[in-house]
């Protein structure tokens, strides 16, 4: 709350502004540039106006990818948030086992994305992977490279394995901030376990849970590496999410114009949804009785 006026302070912000300009603003402007032009090679560009944008909006391909993406993010949130809360509720509150659990839980978070993909790719293989082999021996047909359901299940389970810890850790932090008196009061009021969760734990976790939802939504909405490594977007287009589709279009087919228009719209969608989350979060904080 230090409000001392010092105009020179603006100079301190300058390096950051320059960095952001190079890392974000200029690349983004390049994309904007591509999205409104067409080229036939030889570095010759023609003004294309909003043609790519209308093309993309008419293309089933993008809508399909968006649909898959929304289903994926929805499923991820529907599993990871409740599961994370459940794990946090059952973690020890203090002592050796609390630290032990915390370390154990943060392990998946430390593994790089592509490694996670590789782990699961091998894990699920019928010939040498523990999971695939076991399922096969149990007589369950499991082949994530051929079967759409199996591919989806693999990708979802992989993400749940990778990221539920994050939700659990955040929820755990929220739970830790609840004073003991609340639990004691609830005992005295003869509140049920459900009531304790509903009226004490959930309200106190609401803030961190919103952050967890926001993070998990943004991350899953932009997911690329893991499904790319495991399924490559297949079988067919079954696990081709937005970013995989985008890369296929831009690098694979070298359709720079449509891909640029695609990325801009992708960017705007994420921005919009994040803004909605943010607004809800801020209002949650401010929400007064009345």
């Amino acid at each position: 709350m230090n409000k001392t006026v010092n105009q020179k302070a603006w100079f301190l912000v300058l390096p950051v502004l320059i960095l952001v300009a190079f890392s974000a603003v200029i690349p983004l402007m390049t994309v904007v540039n591509y999205s409104v032009q067409d080229t036939f090679g030889r570095n010759e560009f023609f003004w294309a106006g909003l043609e790519w944008f209308s093309d993309m909006l008419d293309s089933d391909r993008m809508w399909d990818a968006l649909g898959r993406q929304l289903i994926f993010s929805g499923v991820i949130l529907a599993i990871e948030i409740p599961l994370g809360i459940f794990v946090a509720l059952n973690m020890p509150k203090n002592g050796f086992w609390a630290s032990f659990c915390l370390v154990l839980m943060s392990l998946p978070l430390l593994i790089p994305w592509n490694v996670v993909g590789t782990i699961w790719q091998i894990f699920g293989r019928v010939d040498i992977g523990l999971l695939g082999y076991t399922l096969d021996k149990l007589g369950i047909t499991y082949n994530y490279t051929q079967d759409i359901t199996a591919a989806w299940i693999t990708v979802v389970v992989m993400d749940v394995w990778h990221w539920t810890s994050l939700v659990a850790l955040l929820a755990y932090a929220g739970l830790q901030s609840i004073p003991d008196a609340y639990y004691q009061a609830a005992k005295i009021d003869q509140a049920s376990r459900w009531a304790v969760f509903r009226y004490i734990e959930l309200p106190k976790m609401a803030g961190v849970l919103m952050i967890a939802i926001l993070l998990r939504f943004m991350d899953s909405f932009m997911i690329y590496t893991e499904p790319f490594v495991v399924t490559g977007g297949g079988p067919g287009n079954a696990t081709t999410f937005l970013s995989i589709d985008l890369v296929k279009m831009a690098i694979g087919q070298f359709d720079l114009g449509p891909a640029a228009a695609f990325s801009l719209m992708y960017f705007l969608v994420i921005l919009l949804i994040s803004w909605v989350f943010y607004t809800v979060m801020v209002n949650l904080d401010k929400r007064d009785g009345v």
Binding site: M1, N2, K3, T4, V5
Partner: protein, 361 residues
């Protein structure tokens, strides 16, 4: 050395925290800011310290305008309600820390630390860590750190609020003695009138972001300039009663009394009478004492005194009477008041006549 606030005000997000305020604090004085929670005590302190910049007005330190100067560049020390010490340092290093920051010599630091520790009765604990100390000792350590800095301005924001009652009582008695020797300007925020009286010095009463009165503590207590000051500086709260002055009598709803001589020159009209709980008695102690047919709600015995909570025809009064009184709650209870203890306030709440006893005191 002096600190002058000139027309200083502060608004945050459209809400006025401090209305324009003028205040002059002199070297070597203890200045108490007395008011209920959110009256603006902390806001005013932050302005004095330079933690906040006022929206209007100037802060003048030793004749120099320091408005907008950073708190780091001013000679200010602050002690908070929470016991704030460096947990990983010993008491010695905690006390030494402000001097190390300004690069004093080792000998000088050592001398000052030991001297201050002696003053604060911390000498046996110099090698311990703050968390191994009791609450009272932790706060002494924080106070020692503020003192050793030799700051011109020391701000204490309810420093005793988190301590046990008895410890608070002991430190309250010690603090004025310690501070008399330091020679800085002390500003001490509290919500308790009794604390202000014990600390002595000057008192500024605060109410809703305004300083309602500033002056010597006993004189603010005995000659409050307005009803707000009287209410803030009275615990239990002051009792009030509407009165009409007609000639040489004061009339109230259910009776009248002769107006004391000091009120003779007042215009006839409507006034509000105020009197403190300890001036209500169970028997007429002076011939002129006036009786009220109150009803007793609750009694509270403190050992040496009894609080009587009264209902006087709808008005809630509190009385504080000597001795242990076993009275039946719910019954009528006549109480008496010597007119010499009545303050008269006009319709705007301004004092028009101080209680004659206070004028004499």
């Amino acid at each position: 050395m002096s600190l002058i606030l000139k027309n200083v005000s502060k608004t945050v997000g459209g809400q006025t925290h401090i209305h324009p305020t003028d205040l002059t604090l002199e070297k070597g004085t203890m200045n108490v800011l007395l008011g209920p929670t959110s009256a603006g005590k902390t806001s005013l302190m932050r302005l004095m310290a330079g933690l906040d910049v006022p929206n209007t007005g100037h802060v003048i330190w030793n004749g120099e305008d320091v408005t907008g100067m950073r708190v780091q560049d001013r000679k200010v020390a602050m002690v908070y309600q929470q016991f704030i010490n460096y947990p990983s340092m010993t008491v010695y290093d905690n006390i030494a820390s402000p001097m190390k920051l300004v690069g004093k010599s080792k000998d000088e630091i050592d001398r000052a630390v030991r001297e201050t520790a002696e003053l604060m009765q911390l000498t046996p604990m110099l090698d311990r860590k703050p968390l191994e100390l009791s609450g009272g000792q932790q706060q002494r350590c924080a106070l020692a750190r503020a003192l050793v800095k030799n700051a011109g301005l020391v701000l204490l924001d309810e420093p005793l609020a988190n301590l046990d009652y008895k410890l608070r009582e002991e430190l309250r008695a010690e603090i004025p003695r310690i501070f008399e020797r330091a020679g800085s300007i002390f500003v001490y925020a509290t919500t308790e009138p009794e604390e202000a009286l014990l600390l002595g010095g000057n008192t500024a009463t605060l109410w809703e972001g305004r300083v309602t009165q500033f002056g010597l503590t006993p004189s603010v207590y005995r000659r409050p300039e307005n009803a707000t000051t009287a209410r803030v500086f009275s615990d239990p709260p002051m009792n009030f009663l509407s009165m009409t002055k007609a000639g040489s009598t004061l009339r109230f709803d259910r009776g009248e009394m002769p107006a004391p001589a000091s009120m003779a020159s007042l215009k006839d009209g409507e006034y509000t009478a105020g009197f403190r709980p300890n001036h209500l008695t169970l028997a007429a102690q002076t011939p002129g004492a006036i009786g009220f047919d109150a009803k007793l709600n609750v009694t509270e015995i403190t050992g040496s005194e009894t609080f009587i909570h009264l209902d006087y025809h709808g008005a809630k009064w509190v009385g504080l009477v000597h001795g242990i009184q076993h009275l039946q709650p719910g019954q009528p209870l006549p109480v008496y008041l010597d007119p010499a203890h009545i303050y008269l306030f006009d319709a705007n709440g301004a004092l028009v006549s101080a209680a004659p006893y206070a004028e004499a005191a």
